[in-house]
Amino acid sequence: MNYLIGLLSIVFFILAISVIAKSMKLNKNLAQGEDESTAVDSSNDTNAYGMLIFWLLGTVAGVWSFLKCLPDFLPEAASNHGLSTDKMFWTSMAVVTLAFFVTNTLLLFFAFQYRYKKDRKATFYPVNHKLELIWTVIPAIVMAILVFTGWRTWRDITSQAPSDAVVIEITGHQFGWYVRYAGNDDNQLGHYNYKMIDETNSIGIDYTDKNSFDDFTATELHLPKGKPVLLKIHAQDVLHSVYLPYHRVKMDAVPGMPTKFWFTPNVSTDEMRAKLNNKDFNFKLNCTEICGRGHFGMAITVFVDEPADYKKWCAEQKPFLAMNPSYLEKVPANLKAKASKYIPAEPIATDSTATAAAL
């Protein structure tokens, strides 16, 4: 209610200003007849000074607000490629901020400087090819440099993942992420098939593929520090987008079209906590493609572990098949023997929702 009153008072305040301004104008008109031959009126100089004041206040506000927000920007990237894109971002930002500042300054200063004066005539200056050539070529050169550096970085980022990369599968769904690891034995993800999805096997792991047997799932994303990680991404229902803000990773998850992104995390969660002096800090995986009601909350926590810790964590994880032995019956006869290795001697209870189900 307070806001409503606030809003209304603002509206009335503006209306009041306009009424006052209008009556002032009327008074002025009564006092002095305006020159009818031009559209110039008594406010011309006021508007010209307005340009100057706008420039001044704008510059102060721009610099101040930037410095104020600087500490709250994303911290230094936590991945190898992120460091280079961050550097490129701030370099490009410097270039465009300079261009932004110089051109806006010229615009506003010229507007002020060349405000109407009765005894001056504008200069008839329709064209200057040399000048035009200069300001076509300079942006072109700057662009060429930016394109070239950008292209090289892009090429490196999107190159083939190293063959020893840790393969992790991320599946987006309304509204959460399933994570599947390639397993401790073969570092190969098994196939999935959306028609095999059921209440327990929520990713649709295909047990006719022997690579699936040792795959395990998790509700968090664990990554080894300093090792290349290949994310294999897809979605089950609508578009989603994997966004790891601190790692500068983003790639859409598309139903029916697997996508991928590889990168090397280079700061562990613990290091980041120490660096930011925040013991509760956690890396995140968010969704950045509109996917419905729960879009904004579709996040999981990401842990970057030291390689040894990562190994240890992986070793503790049980393959999905081991948690859910009933899926053994989906395995074709010729692979049954191989799959049975993963079934514990005394089957544990088949309740695996804790690992496999949605968040």
């Binding site: 301004a21 709250d72 971002f89 490009s92 060349y114 001056r120 999805i197 983003k250 139903p255 904004f296």
Partner: protein, 630 residues
């Protein structure tokens, strides 16, 4: 065609006694189903203004949620009803619907129809010296298709399941599957119907603009003597004509997927406990088709604004536009490049990275003609004698916003940098400045400048100044800080930023509240315009024939422009439209219809040679009249 010529014929026949027009159209013919380009332009403008207030108020509602996440919105229940949930908060799905409809309305209904529809219709015949559009009837149909499309879109706001909610880009599968969100049900059906009608309207308009510009220019009006406004409308119409049909096909395939069980965009979908049978479709196909229109659309919105402000800045700087041919060249460059940069919206969709490299290269080329335009604007101000009419102020504002929003395009167009910035507030800030606000400022500049020609009255200048400064400051306050949240990695279309964790939402609480307050104030300031506009239509000071001392042909028509535009013969054109402050000339402007032979004191050497052509231009009169009588 026949109807238009009949009217032209009448006008011509009655050229000498137009005071006694016998075929005075009745009220319906004159104001509703009018074939007069000026009336149609006003219809577009008023629809555009009404839509702008609808679209703007939607954004204010979602800004309340973003700026004040804890706020009780119970007081909105009388308007929004069940969209305010039990806890007094905005419904999460309705938030997405608001975002979607705000985008759709602003991009298509305000800045395409309201801007290009208004001024292409109004200015093309008046500035090239034509009695009306090539086809008045198709022109009328164009408006009424737009009206129908508006009615359908507006009605979708009142559905129980809500209007379309998948973002203005309506990416499938979200938009294709009603089970994915309620807005993808009837709301999306209406959205698609409305857009199909809108495309029909815009195609009919575009064909008309192109035909008129090519065929109906008055004698002597060669392409290189056309005002930049006309050039910009010409390029805009070409862009629309070639790209809107692609959106129509995208929409049609989506309609098939939604209603007839096809799989153009759908594949391997498991939703709500059910595996769908669709196989082999590609959501990426839709994105290619959509952005094939979507990107040119940016320029469809922006080019008319750039063209009109070129005209306004030259007039009020009392100086020729600097680099007339470079301005045409850069607009042509932008038009061509606009078709081949669309996939820069798709760098992280899983598209082949090599394709990404190609599109990054093409995208950054487009910065060059844009930079040329900005520099030419600034040089036009240099050593001018600037008169700050409200139109001039808005034009200068446009240049500033065009630069400020444009420079960040260089960053977003770089695919490596786009990885982190894609779908964050950095993008929101970028396109709201360069496309949204800049085009909006162009629209406002156009309204203030041509209002006297439209309604025969002047708008109040002081209210115009207040409107300008409130909007200019306001727009920067709203969109400039969004770059900061963008750099901080805030994704767009988020109902709330709680899931970002690590105190990031809290760090920007004040900033988000500031943006919302600035947005509310800026939006409220538009009430000044609303009042000024409608008040001045009826009560404004009577305008003189050429209040801005401008050179173009529209100012040679009478104050109250009648049907057929010129009561007598259409004037001939002898010179380019930017003879302001010409050395030697008595007056500081020489209209386009003044022959060089009448101004020996100010002619440049090559212009003296053109005097020889004047006879030839004049001799075209009979042929020109003939074309209207055919």
């Amino acid at each position: 065609m026949s109807t238009a010529t009949t009217h032209a014929e009448e006008v011509h026949a009655h050229a000498h006694d137009h005071e006694h027009e016998h075929h005075e159209p009745n009220f319906i013919q004159k104001y509703i189903f009018s074939e007069d380009h000026k009336t149609i332009a006003k219809q577009y403008l008023i629809m555009g203004i009404l839509w702008a207030f609808v679209g703007g108020s939607l954004s204010i509602i979602f800004r309340l949620q973003l700026g004040f996440p804890e706020m009780q919105l119970e007081w909105l229940r009388p308007i929004l009803g069940e969209w305010i949930d039990e806890s007094g908060k905005l419904d999460k799905e309705f938030y997405l619907a608001l975002v979607t409809m705000h985008g759709t309305i602003m991009v298509f209904f305000v800045l395409t129809a309201g801007l290009s529809g208004t001024f292409s219709n109004f200015l093309i015949p008046l500035q090239i010296g034509a009695r009306d559009m090539a086809s008045g009837f198709i022109n009328m149909l164009s408006f009424w298709f737009f009206f129908l499309s508006s009615a359908v879109m507006f009605s979708s706001l009142f559905l129980e399941t809500g209007p379309a909610s998948g973002g203005w880009v309506i990416y499938p599968p979200l938009s294709a599957l009603p089970q994915a969100m309620p807005g993808s049900g009837l709301g999306m059906t209406l959205w698609l119907t409305s857009m199909a009608l809108f495309i029909v309207s815009s195609l009919m308009g575009g064909i008309n603009y192109i035909c008129t510009i090519i065929n109906l220019r008055t004698r002597g009006m060669t392409f290189t003597k056309m005002p930049l406004t006309i050039w910009s409308f010409f390029f805009t119409a070409i862009l629309g004509l070639l790209s809107f049909p692609v959106l129509l096909s995208a929409a049609l395939l989506l309609i098939f997927d939604r209603s007839f069980g096809t799989s153009f965009y759908l594949s391997e979908i498991y939703i709500q406990g059910q595996a769908l049978p669709n196989m082999g479709g590609s959501p990426i196909l839709y994105q290619h088709l959509f952005w094939f229109l979507g990107h040119p659309e940016v320029y469809i919105v922006l080019l008319p604004a750039l063209g009109m402000t070129s005209e306004i800045i030259a007039t009020n700087a009392r100086k020729p536009i600097f680099g007339y041919r470079a301005m045409i060249g850069s607009m042509m460059g932008i038009t061509l490049l606009a078709f081949i940069v669309w996939a820069h919206h798709m760098f992280v969709t899983g598209m082949n990275p090599f394709l990404g490299s190609v599109f990054m290269f093409l995208t950054l080329i487009i910065a060059v003609p844009s930079a040329v335009k900005a520099f030419n604007y600034i040089t036009t101000l240099w050593k001018g004698n600037l008169i700050f009419t409200p139109a001039m102020l808005f034009s200068i504002g446009l240049v500033s916003l065009f630069i400020s929003g444009g420079v960040t395009g260089i960053i977003l167009g770089n695919s490596a940098l786009d990885i982190n910035l894609h779908d964050t507030y950095f993008v929101v800030a970028h396109f709201h400045l360069v496309m949204g606000s800049a085009s909006f400022f162009g629209l406002m500049a156009g309204v203030y400048h041509w209002f006297p020609k439209m309604f025969g009255r002047m708008m109040n200048k002081t209210l115009g100044y207040i409107h300008f400064w409130a909007t200019f400051v306001g727009v920067y306050c709203v969109f400039f800080p969004m770059h900061y949240t963008g750099i901080a990695g805030f994704p767009r279309r988020y109902y709330s930023f709680t899931a970002l964790g690590n105190g990031r939402m809290e760090a920007f609480t004040d900033l988000n509240a500031f943006i919302s307050i600035a947005a509310i104030l800026t939006f409220s300031a538009q009430a000044i315009f609303f009042f000024n506009f409608f008040y001045s239509i009826f009560k404004g000071k009577k305008a003189s024939q050429n209040p801005w001392n401008s050179t173009t042909l529209e100012w040679t028509t009478p104050v109250e422009v009648g049907h057929g535009n010129w009561p007598g013969e259409i004037p001939a054109v002898y010179r380019w439209p930017y003879d302001y402050s010409k050395p030697g000339a008595e007056s500081d402007f020489i209209p386009q219809n003044v022959p060089y032979s009448a101004t020996p004191e100010s002619n440049l050497p090559e212009e003296n040679e053109e005097i020889a052509n004047e006879k030839a231009i004049e001799s075209l009169l009979a042929a020109q009249n003939e074309s209207y009588n055919r």
